[in-house]
Amino acid sequence: MTPPQSLPLLAIDDLHVTFSTRRGLVEAVRGVSFSVAAGETLGVVGESGSGKSVTAFAVTRLLDASGRVSQGRIRFAGEDITKASSKQLRRLHGAAISMIFQNPRGALNPIRTVGQQIADAIMAHEPISSAEGRARALELLKAVLIREPEKRLDAYPHELSGGMCQRVMIAMAIACAPKLLIADEPTTGLDVTTQKTVMDLLSKITAERGMAMILITHDLGLASRYCQRVCVMEQGKVVEEAQPLALFSAPQHPYTKRLVAASPTATSTIADLAPEALAPSAVSHSPHPEEAAPAAVSKDGLVVSEPPGASFEPKPAASPQDEGSGKTKPAPGTPLLLEVQNLVKRYDRGVVAVNDVSFAIRAGESLGLVGESGSGKSTISRLVCRLIDASEGEILFDGQAIGTLPARDFHRSPLRKDIQIVFQDPTDSLNPRFNAFDCIAHPLRRLLNMKDGAALTARVSECAERAGLPSSLLERFPHQLSGGQKARVGIARAIACRPRLLILDEPTAALDVSVQAVILQLLDRLRREDDLALLFVSHDLNVVRMMCERTVVMQNGQIVEQGESLALFAAPQTEYARTLLEAVLHLGGPTAR
């Protein structure tokens, strides 16, 4: 602990940041105040649009040209840096305050070796020769525990994995021993196990070197595990600030409560996540363009129809029998809907993405597919959806072999409408020139040969309604919809032809937790209503545990373990599954330090 001191390292006082946009001035940060003591780790959590990243960029004065600090003060070591000249700022950057960014690969110069880039960071502040710079870069690579640091020195960013790129980024950020490190979503997009090693490294380095850290994240679990204090931000304001254990076990502000409830934990059920979402009228017909609208509803106490078992406090460990609404097991005698036998997918140059994989899904059953990136789970989802051809093996759907039909001809198969897919990125998977109506009508026109008319309109409206998309939004184009609304369009499109098997490839990975909660509930409801079978691909183990009866764990293209979700998550049999599970962060769980 640092001794009590009168002067914090960083003090932000009533900060306002405005952006000038085509539609006039937009205030992204509206009166934020907090402080960070030397050596302290402060978490800033909130959903997209809450202004947490803008605050960080305001502190480092790296805002876009259109944004500026319109009010308030940022004092670093007693000095107001909102008025610092660009020369003063250059001396601060890297040497006193440095930043780590989301998407580490993009944050590194693609055509410069990582050794040179680290040396650049040092030489910006210290007059050393390039040979010395190289030696120091090597030391730093060792400090961030990169394997074979001598070899990595001359590697380009594209030759390194995402986790390694983030380590390089950390090496650059700590190169000149700054007092404050701002980490903006440092592990978003990384695998759970990589996330854990990177975060452990960050907390080790900051502790060793006495650096303060501001950890900006949307992941409450991450904040609760690694921070000494957490600020919750909503719409440009800090709504609550406390120690993580207190904050997450007894949240005070309604927004914090909703956020905590929406975060999947080791014991939560689908129904726990967002109780108010079960009152569909409150959610889907909200005129507010953002999914965040339900917050206002619960704030006003309008939610009366709380389902049993849904409470804001994290529940004590639920017994395995207490399943909530998440699971309805198909009867044992249900026939197999999908059978995958010895599936192999090889790419050029001997890359085997999927290696001898077999599993089965019963009608109405939900199967989870988990594993790290590169484990082959997305390839399997594309193989089963018949978007790509398998190199070997059988895919049986309803007893018929569909693996033999070439993927490019499968759209003519009558089974095409029975197997549909929801993609990871809700934006990229919608045609930007189609409005929501056309997106949903597309499969109906193509696969069911429906002609424009009342029948098609009725069908599309029905699908949209079932996916919780207000019919007033059907005329809008993807760029006019929020992330959650786009996800709903994708789901409505996938269920339009009433498939029997729905493949979900990381359907909520790009969404905020509160939106994710609503979408998961929606999927679960659709599944029960239609007796849909789900193949649920995800890297989020908590989500899979809630959504799926059975889970398949993949590693390097092979299945390492499969079984009933509850049993598997309670007592994993293999070392790999155990590692994966241990890397999952739980809200208010035992802290690492």
């Binding site: 480092t60 950057h93 890297g94 440095s98 960014f101 993009g106 055509i111 650049d120 960071a121 502040h125």
Partner: protein
């Protein structure tokens, strides 16, 4: 070293895959020349009074009495043995004509491209750094001007200003004035040959002759190069890695040059290759205005007098140069961008 070998492999593959296109160009121009109106035999007969027998004899001499497929086969056979035919206007073998004239065109084009790049890149960078300011608008204006004034107009204007009014430039007739003695021919590039011979006075004379035509051509291609530099520079200035460089306090020069500009030059390189190939063929107007003894004006003269062989030779030459330029750009790109060799 593995990067070198993959680059070489890629270049070899690229070259091999462009051979069919080259062959197609050959056949196409051959047929096109046969379809064009105008009988070369009539044109090359002794005069308007030439009798039927004389024309018939010339036809036979030129092989024009044979069926077209046979003519094509003989043509291909000739090319295979390095014989591009003989120009009827100059009386020289086409290969020799092209050899003596190509360096003039290349020297002009290279100089023009160099001037264009040296102008366009700073302009594009300046426009990107001050996006929306008067600098940006000025650059846009200069680019628009360069594109919308045809080269024969801008060439004549430059001659008018620098030769007639100011008297700074030498008279715009050819590569050197008649009083300068030519250096011994080593490369055909006068600037290089003069430098090799150590004749700096001659070098200056040749350079003075070169400046105006090169500027005329450069003016025309500054626009695309400056625009692409500006766009690429804006993209890389807004990229995450430039933000990283700024967050680490790198000096502004280093951020702009080493981080932003080097990445922005990758698309500029691609465009420069295309621009170069286009200039080489399209500079006929400049060559005409400045009486430059290049290949393009040679081909135009031949075309106007229905002289098949030089035109076909010229087209083949241009196609080959296009292939070589693309190849060079490809190799350079592979060296400049380490990501390419992985794909």
């Amino acid at each position: 070293m593995s990067q070198l070998s993959t680059t070489a492999k890629r270049a070899g593959w690229r070259f091999a895959s462009s051979l069919p296109a080259l062959f197609g160009v050959l056949v196409f121009t051959f047929l096109l020349m046969r379809v064009l109106p105008g009988d070369p035999a009539v044109f090359f007969a002794s005069g308007p009074s030439a009798g039927k027998e004389e024309i018939e004899m010339i036809r036979k001499q030129m092989g024009l009495d044979k069926p077209v497929p046979e003519q094509l086969l003989r043509y291909l056979g000739d090319i295979g043995s390095g014989n591009l035919g003989r120009s009827l206007t100059t009386g020289q073998p086409v290969l020799a004509d092209l050899k003596s004239r190509l360096p003039a065109s290349l020297e002009l084009t290279f100089s023009a491209l160099l001037i264009a790049l040296l102008t366009a890149i700073p302009l594009g960078v300046a426009a990107a750094l001050r996006q929306g300011s008067w600098v940006d608008h000025l650059v846009r204006f200069i680019c628009a001007l360069g594109v919308c004034v045809p080269t024969f107009v801008s060439g004549l204007l430059l001659i008018y200003a620098f030769y007639y009014l100011l008297g700074l430039a030498p008279d715009p007739t050819g590569r050197v004035d008649i009083f300068t003695s030519l250096p011994p021919r080593a490369t055909g590039f006068l600037l290089i040959d003069f430098a090799l011979a150590g004749d700096w006075e001659g070098w200056r004379a040749a350079a003075a002759q070169l400046v105006l035509p090169a500027m005329t051509m450069a003016l025309f291609v500054v626009a695309p190069l400056a625009r692409i530099t500006r766009a690429a520079m804006l993209a890389s200035l807004g990229s995450d890695f430039v933000r990283t460089a700024r967050s680490l306090g790198l000096p502004p020069r280093k951020v702009i040059v080493t981080y932003a500009l080097r990445n922005a030059l990758l698309p500029v390189l691609t465009i420069a290759g295309i621009v170069f190939s286009t200039m080489l063929g399209a500079n006929v107007l400049v060559e005409k205005v400045f009486s430059w003894p290049g290949v393009a004006s040679y081909a135009l003269d031949a075309l106007l007098s229905s002289d098949y062989a030089p035109v076909q030779g010229f087209v083949l030459l241009m196609a080959s140069i296009f292939v070589v330029v693309n190849l060079t750009v490809d190799v350079l790109y592979g060296i400049a961008d380490p990501r390419v060799s992985v794909e």
